[in-house]
Amino acid sequence: MSDKTIGIRVTRFRPEQEDAPTEQVYEVPYQEDWVVLDALNYIKDHIDGTLSYRWSCRMGVCGSCGMMVNGEPKLTCAAFLKDYYPNELVVQPLAHFPIIRDLVVDIDDFMDKLKAVQPWIIREEEKPVAEGEYLQSPAELKEFKQFSQCINCLLCYAACPVYGLEDVFVGPAALALSYRYNLDSRDEGYAQRTVVAASSEGIWECTFIGECSVVCPKDVDPAAAIQRTKVETTTNWFKSFLMPWGNK
């Protein structure tokens, strides 16, 4: 292991002993191939076992290790120390979410919103299993594939000042997933999702800052999904207004 070290300034919040978060600096060995999560694991294993944070897959798939690294929402398994060395690194919990302990945030609000947009295939009438799968062509899959890459890491919520100011906002990931299922050729749940997505707490809260798409580690582009939903719902509203006899 190299002799070089790097300082990691970590947010600590232990509700049983303090009312507000504090900071603690740990000096950890610097390895060029280490990511921020490796440094946190080193702290946990060798310096301070009381530090709490979430992680799982270490390969940018599970979406659990999202934190603020030097003020930017990042997956800590994909943020390399070499990009910050030799400067001290600041690691904080994801912005805009209530902090439960240290770097662990409460994501119940997001889970409720995710459930509200019903991110699953809705059918007006389910066909019997014996009749087989709902088939889809590659072209139909291509329509929504980009928006199905979301790993619910919540970096987009941490980057969204609208959510930070008004946490009633349904938010980028949930709205992108709503759009994803609306685009799915097998789905028939547009009307049910639109009740939530096009509500005053849905797409119309978004002011298109666009930072959600900038920080997305999977290039989902939730900002585009939200703006396209705005165009789509507006067009449908005009159609229903001008041609009330037509089907939406």
Binding site: F13, P15, D19, A20, P21, G71, A95, H96, P98, I99, I100, D106, D108, M111, D112, A139, P161, G164, L165, T207, F208, I209, G210, E211, V214, D221, A223, A224, Q227, R228, V231
Partner: protein, 132 residues
């Protein structure tokens, strides 16, 4: 969902938009609408003056060509241009254009929006400079 544990909810600072270049540029885009709204009000004022007759319109023009208003118009023009460029720049991401089974690439949609903007601007400019 009910929670049975204490949490700490951080508050967003009023200066959040100064903490990142992208947030700052977003706020400038929002601010541009104030200048555009002011420009529209002044434009309506000119139309009312025009309806009042030649003398009223001449007085209005004299008023609006004082240095203060010239500076305002210059700043409003920069903001209007910035708003237009950022608005047209995201066109390809926002508007999906389909031609049968073919989906027009987003970059082409954006390029088309800019071409349309320059064409319309040129036509309007020509009419104002050479026709009216």
């Amino acid at each position: 969902m009910s929670q049975s544990y204490e949490t700490y909810k951080p508050k967003l600072s009023p200066t959040w938009w100064l903490k990142s270049r992208n947030y700052f540029l977003f706020m400038m885009r929002e601010l541009s609408s104030v200048f555009i709204a002011a420009f529209v009000i002044l434009f309506l004022y000119q139309l009312f003056a025009l309806a009042e007759g030649k003398e009223a319109y001449a007085a209005c023009r004299d008023e609006l060509t004082t240095p203060g208003f010239v500076v305002f118009y210059a700043v409003a023009f920069v903001f209007a241009l910035y708003h237009t460029i950022t608005w047209l720049g995201v066109m390809g991401r926002v508007q999906v254009v389909r031609m049968g089974a073919f989906t027009v690439p987003p970059k082409l949609v954006t390029a088309g929006a800019f071409v349309g903007f320059f064409f319309v601007s040129a036509v309007v400019g020509y009419i104002f400079l050479y026709v009216l």
